[in-house]
Point group: C2
Chain length 699, copies 2
């Protein structure tokens, strides 16, 4: 391009931005996006739906939204601290409070009074109370001439410092959130709740009706709900910001919102990163977890109690396998990759067409491609040099690293050990949740055997751990010998510091002490050769994206609060149209259509009390709202800010949504509010609870 005056250049830049926005309009179709609350898509909402949420509306939704740190979402739905989420989000806690005598996962639970509510073992809920941009401060820590690794360290140190200062100043959980691949950094402060009690959960069979086959599909008929109550100072939390319940619920073609915590997406990743996922990550992960699933299934066949112990992990792995298979198939689809290629080509062409952008950001894509190639060198050791599959082994590593890390200046610590993270870390580390030694042993043995098969007998890790002995024998010795199943043992080791760890003869601690240097070395290699490059180049791509597209693009998901919008809408599938909603009729159709055979059987109350139900009550529905794993338990909200549904899944076509959103077929799947009330009142004798939800009774 010929030289131009500054003024003209500004004009050209403005034109570029306008053009980019038009392009963005094409590249990012209506209803795409998991938007941060500082940047809601006001323009798109107004243009497409003639609706402009007020700041009060946005604040109210934000403060009514709850993050389940186990990996899910929820919302306040009564003035008395009642939180609604999915059964499958609460599942881990239900399992932890279960015993061979009482299985809350399978049987469900209803507390007829507050006195009967059961405290969760180690559940932490977060509410986002403030957001502050700190991009300048984080990036300011990086000085010119620093290597990528030095820059990464500097950034990390600054992040830890900001988090710590904030925690000390406010007492609030304070997390730095990198957005747009590091194009922005935000300080998110959370109110944290750890006294959370179980109020209601239905039977697993109706929460997860259709089991693994129906998971990630639609039409669905699941009552995937759980209600918990948050306490503070042993009193139900008085919640000013809660979502009013709307029992009429979502209607076809209605504009709805989803407020929740999508875990992660890779939409802004470079093609090289996505190809790495396709060619190296998915094949590895799918094989690994299929193998684990086999071990768990073998364990389950050993007895009823073993089946109970394993079912949580089986559920989680089946769920992950189905999701990953969908994502992987998406990447194997030539059309999807062609679209990613096209998007990247367009973006890079615009960067290269502008000399300033080209100079600053032009090489970033190739740097990432190099890093992806580089990591192939160490991929196998990184994957297999670890005690895998055992929760106790993970606890041992955390303990061994904990005592060293907390002695260092905050900025120099390993990720996860910063001051601001320690309270949550200790909460998990000292959790009294049950450990099943027989299962631990079987999983660890299989993990070691696989490492041996992959690395060979001469690998330093194998030599150190097995030293020629059979994997099963070593696993037995480690799990039989360790005392780490007892949280008080963990606590005394953590409190005893480096001396206690050094003196410990606990076999897991002994072996992990020896492995720790190897783990740290590996970490460092990846930081130096891969992560620091990805961070640094990714940051430049993030800046380039701002320069080209502005904030019309929304950042990849980061398990932080996001707002999605869309409509309740049918879609083309299976040669026909999906119904926008299912009804209770549909539940019975599918159950009887399979002759009530698992996983399509029904809890007894659903047979015995069937005639009480209004069968045409909506059960589940689909909306174009853009969500992903982590959004489970998110409220579906109408324009009035009322809850009209409860997200619990995406359809099979939505799985590729990690990489590409397609409004034609991508659908979020939600439980309808009418179904929850119908079931509570007519099947569970829980009218008191239904009244609390519907605001008919103030406690």
């Amino acid at each position: 391009m010929p030289k131009q005056s500054w003024r003209f250049r500004t004009g050209a830049l403005a034109l570029t931005i306008l053009f980019a926005f038009l392009l963005a309009g094409a590249a990012f179709p209506p209803d795409e996006g998991m938007w941060t609350l500082d940047n809601p898509p006001l323009k798109l909402l107004k243009e497409r739906y003639g609706f402009t949420p007020t700041q009060e509306w946005l604040d109210h939704i934000r403060l009514a939204s709850v993050r389940f740190n186990d990996g899910g979402s929820g919302s306040f739905v009564s003035p008395n601290g009642l939180v609604l989420t999915n059964h499958h989000v609460a599942r881990g806690q239900l399992q932890k409070m279960s015993s061979p005598q009482k299985d809350y996962v399978e049987d469900g639970f209803y507390a007829k009074s507050m006195a009967e509510e059961i405290k969760c073992t180690d559940l932490e809920l977060n509410v986002l109370v403030s957001m502050e941009e700190v991009t300048a401060r984080v990036l300011g820590a990086v000085k010119k001439g620093m290597t990528d690794k030095a820059a990464l360290d500097a950034r990390k140190a600054e992040i830890a410092k900001i988090e710590k200062e904030s925690l000390e100043a406010t007492g609030l959980r304070s997390d730095i959130v990198p957005l747009y691949q590091g194009g922005e950094y935000w300080l998110y402060r959370y109110k944290k709740y750890t006294d959370v009690r179980l109020v209601f959960a239905p039977e697993q069979q109706i929460a997860f009706f259709g089991g693994d086959p129906d998971n990630f599909t639609f039409p669905r008929h699941d009552l995937d709900m759980t209600l918990m109550r948050v306490y503070e100072n042993d009193q139900p939390l008085r919640t000013k910001d809660y979502l009013k319940w709307n029992t009429n619920g979502a209607m076809e073609n209605e504009l709805v919102f989803v407020s929740g915590h999508p875990g992660s997406t890779n939409r802004l990743h470079t093609l090289a990163q996505i190809e790495f996922q396709r060619d190296h990550s998915y094949p590895y992960r799918l094989a690994l977890y299929k193998r684990r699933l086999e071990v768990l299934r073998r364990y389950s066949t050993m007895g009823e109690e073993q089946a109970r112990q394993a079912q949580g992990q089986i559920f989680g792995i089946e769920n992950a396998l189905k999701a990953w298979t969908g994502e992987y198939n998406g990447l194997l689809d030539a059309k999807v990759m062609a679209k990613k290629q096209q998007d990247e080509n367009d973006f890079r062409a615009q960067v290269m067409a502008n000399p300033e952008l080209k100079k600053l950001y032009g090489t970033a894509w190739d740097e990432i491609a190099q890093a992806e190639k580089k990591q192939l060198e160490m991929l196998k050791p990184a994957r297999y040099r670890a005690l895998r599959g055992s929760r106790l082994a993970a606890i041992a590593l955390t303990l061994v690293q904990y005592v060293t890390e907390i002695k260092k200046p905050d900025g120099e610590r390993l990720e996860g050990f910063h001051d601001s993270q320690l309270e949550s870390l200790r909460f998990r580390l000292f959790s009294p949740a049950p450990v099943y030694p027989q299962l631990e042993e079987m999983m660890l043995a299989d993990g070691l055997q696989e490492s041996l098969d992959q690395l060979g007998a001469n690998d330093p890790f194998i030599k150190l751990v097995l030293n020629g002995r059979p994997a099963a024998e070593v696993a037995k010795e480690l799990i039989n010998g360790t005392k780490l199943a007892d949280p008080t043992v963990r606590k005394s080791l953590a409190e005893g510091g480096e001396a206690a760890i050094a003196a410990s003869t606990d076999p897991l601690i002994v072996i992990v002490r020896k492995l720790d240097p190897m783990a740290r070395e590996m970490d460092k290699w990846f930081e130096t050769n891969v992560h620091s490059v990805e961070t640094s180049a990714g940051e430049r791509i993030g800046k380039a994206r701002f320069a080209v597209y502005g904030k019309s693009v929304n950042p990849d998901a980061t398990f932080t609060l996001r707002l999605s919008y869309g409509t309740v809408a049918s879609y083309s599938m299976n040669g026909t149209k999906a119904q926008p909603m299912t009804t209770i009729y549909g539940l019975y159709d599918r159950a009887y259509g399979f002759g009530l055979k698992p996983p399509f059987d029904l809890p007894p109350r659903f047979i015995e009390r069937k005639d009480r139900l209004t069968m045409s009550t909506p059960a589940n529905f689909v909306a174009t709202t853009d969500i992903i794993g982590g959004n489970s338990g998110s409220p579906v909200i109408n324009k009035a800010g009322e809850i009209v549904g409860l997200i619990f899944d995406g359809n099979i076509e939505s799985l590729v949504g990690r990489y590409v959103y397609n409004i034609e077929t991508n659908r979020a799947v939600a439980v309808h509010t009418a179904y929850m009330i119908e079931a509570l009142r007519k099947l569970y004798d829980a009218s008191v609870l239904a009244d609390e939800l519907e605001g008919k009774q103030v406690l």
Copy 2:
């Protein structure tokens, strides 16, 4: 291969056949096949299901099976001539007996007594009473040294002769059926019934619930049934061979049979033929019929009566478009084509490996490939040099050709005009079924316009028909001027013979007289250059197939009686499992899920009488039985020879079945017998009819 003794060669041949059978076992999976009744898959049935039908069983099923010459199947289901078929098979007749005052398609019908039954306008039913192989006689007519065209003519003449002899000897409709691409010829004799009366039809909306979207899909919930009664000498036909009704109906995993008249498949076509379909036939047909559909829809918007008149054709075209789209997409699937390529490669390799087979049949594939290429030359004229879209124009052409053809020796006539075919031809030609001139005009005008656009103003056909005038004007003149809507006019023209036709001033007769030579010339070109080559080379491939695979392969469908077998079985779809059956619950789920909006609305009685129904009654089910268009209305039969269901569709995955059968996903869709009885008794006050079906009452 080195020279071998004769004995050894036999051994080698036997081995080849054995190996081929194993291969065939792989290439033709269990449950594939539309088997002729002379060659039922006894071995497969025994091996896979431990069931061997007796000859009596087979004869009984054959004699209880009915062909609807409109293009469908049915079966006798009572000793009093009651025939069960689909609403959509009976649809044409329902429309023909309707008027602006009474719409039997839309409203359905129930004759409370025999006196109320309504005679169908022009329906011919056939029952296959005997089968006789005549391969030697047909092929014997072809002498050495004949050209392909001469051989084709000789074959045709011999076929006409056999048919005529048989008709004269037995009085039975006698058709020669070429099987295995002409590898075998069979003489099928049919008992023919033309006094058929309507007994019961439900409302179109419940017969075709879900409309075009749900067509060719599953799960389904259609009551796609119609009952007719066959009369002879004005008395209900006494039917010894009828299927006993089993109201318990089909069960999951049950072995079932389908006896019906699959229209056509192309599984044994060569790759060159299939590629021609993919690259030339489907794109043309899809575009043509989409255009016709548009015209029909435009016509429908002109008024309620116009909508009624057009709905039959709209239904038919939507149905065809959906089926063809599925077939076309199948051929665009690289995996499907790779399988066809692989099958052909294997087959040809076996032919080429045997010097004798190689010499006799080795060149056949290339000859067909040449013919496919050749026909591209005349494709456009063949398609567009015709008065398309008008039923009256088709009648005119039939009349003009009829008077000439019947004067020729039987063997020299055009296909369709042989002595044995004349009775059925006259039955159709003189049918009093209503003609809608306004619709005729609009369709003809559009067809002419399209021909003009495609051929250009200088094409001889265009010059002859339009001669510079607008298509709409010519169409108006032709349709306004013709008297052919009146069957008595047609009859007098036909009876008046060549003189009457030559003297006619009916504008459609006048124009068709001029077009007839052009049509005949085109026919001849295709016979000489394409069909005779396809027939001759196809026959050699058919023989090669016998030599390699024996009769373990079943012939392509020919709208003649076939037996399929399989099980009622779920399949993987949409990321989950399809339920093997739907229930009445499912009907209401889908209706209410779409808010009762068309095409998911319900007839009033289904709302008003809903509470009478046992909702868990099976509604529709799927089976692995291999079917295709033409099988509509076929009975699903259990081992006891009882009817347990009524075929009405295939799932979307079955559409590629024209080319490849895949047991994993190909499913036939049927109405369950329990649903028919439940509806007749509880919704239609038709207990008398239900009693007749269930054998509870002898009339």
